[in-house]
């Protein structure tokens, strides 16, 4: 087997098939770009969910100890035990004031307006509660004896009579809604991507077929002199792979450009909102390449069937 033979044949095929190959590359580019975009949107929304709720359905904010210190150990232990014994609760974790502040800094990294003006003292310690099922917030409310109370500024706040508890917050509805939006958006983009991937398969298969048709005389001679079917097919398979991979490469590049121009521009304007980073684009890229290899293999299998009957 000689590699240079295959690459020479592939290059000839691509050159002769120029415009058709260009069509295949652009379709695979669009398909893979949308596919990557769907993955990025999914990541973005997960990022938002995590930042807003930390994937925790209920937060029980604790009253500070004396002089803005962490709440006393025995209060934490007592409340943790009490919450953990509820059937609605799956798990409880404690987040100290320091940990909460660390997270706050992380969340608003690069936004000095927040990090410089909020001191660790202002952020409360909390118990983060996972529920066994959403909508069980009322059980927590009852257990900690919390009631809505009108605030002087007109809003309402849950005030709890349970000692050591300041207030509680329910993220379960929000979490559910966000998860649904995530699912819907990424499903939408993903289904467009799948349709596009399908057309990429068809177009690349067609390109290969046209290439084989254009070279059927040559293929006939190859068969005459004893070339095996694979010897004839492989240059076409490489051709499809090249077209698909070039499309994928361009798509990754375009996602980076999109991220740098649009997202980075937005994150300059919208201050306290998490955005995908370059590393997210990098994390998505292998999946796009994988999808393009899949496209090439399916297209190759369909495209090269004909013209090879002995």
């Amino acid at each position: 087997m000689r590699l240079d033979y295959y690459f020479r044949e592939t290059a000839t095929g691509l050159r002769r098939n120029g415009i058709v190959a260009f069509g295949a590359v652009s379709t695979s580019f669009i398909a893979l770009f949308l596919f990557g975009l769907a993955l990025l949107i999914y990541r973005e929304l997960n990022l938002v969910i995590f930042n807003v709720t930390e994937n925790v359905e209920v937060a029980v904010y604790l009253k500070d100890g004396p002089d803005h210190s962490d709440p006393p150990q025995d209060t934490v232990v007592r409340l943790t035990g009490k919450l953990a014994s509820l059937p609605a609760v799956a798990s409880v974790t404690y987040q100290s004031k320091d940990e909460a502040y660390e997270r706050f800094k992380e969340l608003f990294a690069g936004k000095p307006v927040f990090t410089e003006n909020v001191s660790p003292d202002a952020i409360p310690a909390s118990l983060r509660v996972h529920l066994t099922d959403t909508g069980l917030f009322d059980q927590i409310k009852a257990a900690l004896d919390c009631n809505d109370q009108q605030q002087p500024n007109g809003s309402t706040k849950l005030v709890c009579t349970e000692p050591g508890v300041d207030t509680i917050a329910d993220f379960s509805t929000l979490l559910e809604q966000l998860t649904q939006i995530t699912r819907l958006l990424s499903l939408g983009v993903l289904s467009i991507a799948i349709v596009m991937l399908f057309s990429a398969i068809v177009l690349i298969a067609n390109t290969l077929r046209m290439g084989m048709f254009a070279r059927r005389r040559e293929i006939g001679i190859m068969r005459l002199v004893g070339a095996t079917n694979w010897r004839i097919r492989i240059p076409f398979l490489i051709e499809g792979m090249v077209e698909s991979l070039v499309g994928a490469g361009l798509a990754v590049l375009a996602l980076f450009v999109l991220k740098v121009t649009v997202i980075d521009g937005l994150s300059g304007q919208i201050r306290f909102f998490p955005f995908v980073r370059n590393s997210d684009v990098l994390a998505v890229a292998p999946w796009m390449l994988l999808a393009s290899v899949f496209v090439a293999i399916v297209a190759g299998t369909i495209g090269i069937r004909r013209f090879l009957d002995v």
Binding site: V225, G226, N229, I232, V310
Partner: protein, 225 residues
């Protein structure tokens, strides 16, 4: 070397090309298959290349029983059989050297082997000076020489020629026949389908005559009719 035993070929459209044909060809023989158009000459050649399957009967070539030869191995069979056609079947965008080298490339021969054998065989067919010409720049006779060089470069046991002189004038045809005779003299079995009467009469080789798909004559040192 070649054996057809009671071979009948009926094409899918109902046309009967060969009826109960039996021919034995020994190693190193030179055989003309003659007959008018539609007598089954080309079908016989196609059966030997396993381009077609016989409807009845058995086909053996180079020790292989083609009826039982699996399809995926056919390329390997063809490496032992050289083929020459009326229309040369050369690649017009490749030079003479590349056309002949192509036959070695597609069966995975090393470059070093190709660089040695191709000039050798082109020299042998008398085209040693035309390595870098393109087929369009050659005469019909020269193009047929290239195609013979390509058929022989892999040192096949059998050379099948289907009307190799069909497009050539009489004197060029004689040159091509001299070349095929030369190939035959080094031990290659040559089977040539033709209706070129002058050539058959001049060569005085074994003649198998087909008519309407049947062998009507099989004569050593024969003439056309």
């Amino acid at each position: 070397m070649i054996s057809l035993q009671h071979v009948t070929k009926v094409y899918r459209n109902g046309v009967t090309a060969l009826t109960d044909v039996s021919v034995e060809i020994e190693k190193g023989e030179f055989v003309f298959v003659v007959g008018p158009s539609g007598s089954g000459k080309s079908t016989l050649i196609r059966l030997l290349l396993k381009e077609e399957e016989p409807s009845k009967g058995d086909v053996f070539i180079a020790g292989k029983h083609l009826n039982k030869y699996s399809t995926w191995k056919v390329p390997h069979l063809r490496r032992n059989i050289g083929t020459v056609f009326q229309d040369y079947k050369l690649l017009t965008d490749k030079t003479v050297f590349e056309n002949v080298a192509f036959a070695l490339e597609v069966i995975g021969k090393q470059k070093i082997v190709i660089d040695q054998r191709v000039p050798e065989v082109l020299d042998y067919v008398g085209l040693g000076e035309k390595l870098n010409s393109y087929p369009d720049e050659l005469s019909g006779g020269e193009q047929q020489r290239v195609s013979i060089a390509r058929a022989c470069v892999n040192r096949p046991l059998v050379l099948l020629a289907d009307e190799p002189t069909g497009n050539l004038d009489p004197s060029t045809s004689v040159d091509i026949m001299r070349l095929l005779d030369k190939v035959n003299r080094i031990g290659t079995t040559v089977v040539m389908a033709t209706h070129d009467q002058a050539i058959v009469d001049a060569m005085r080789k074994r003649v198998v005559e087909l008519e309407k798909g049947q062998v009507v004559r099989d004569q050593a040192r024969g003439v056309y009719s």
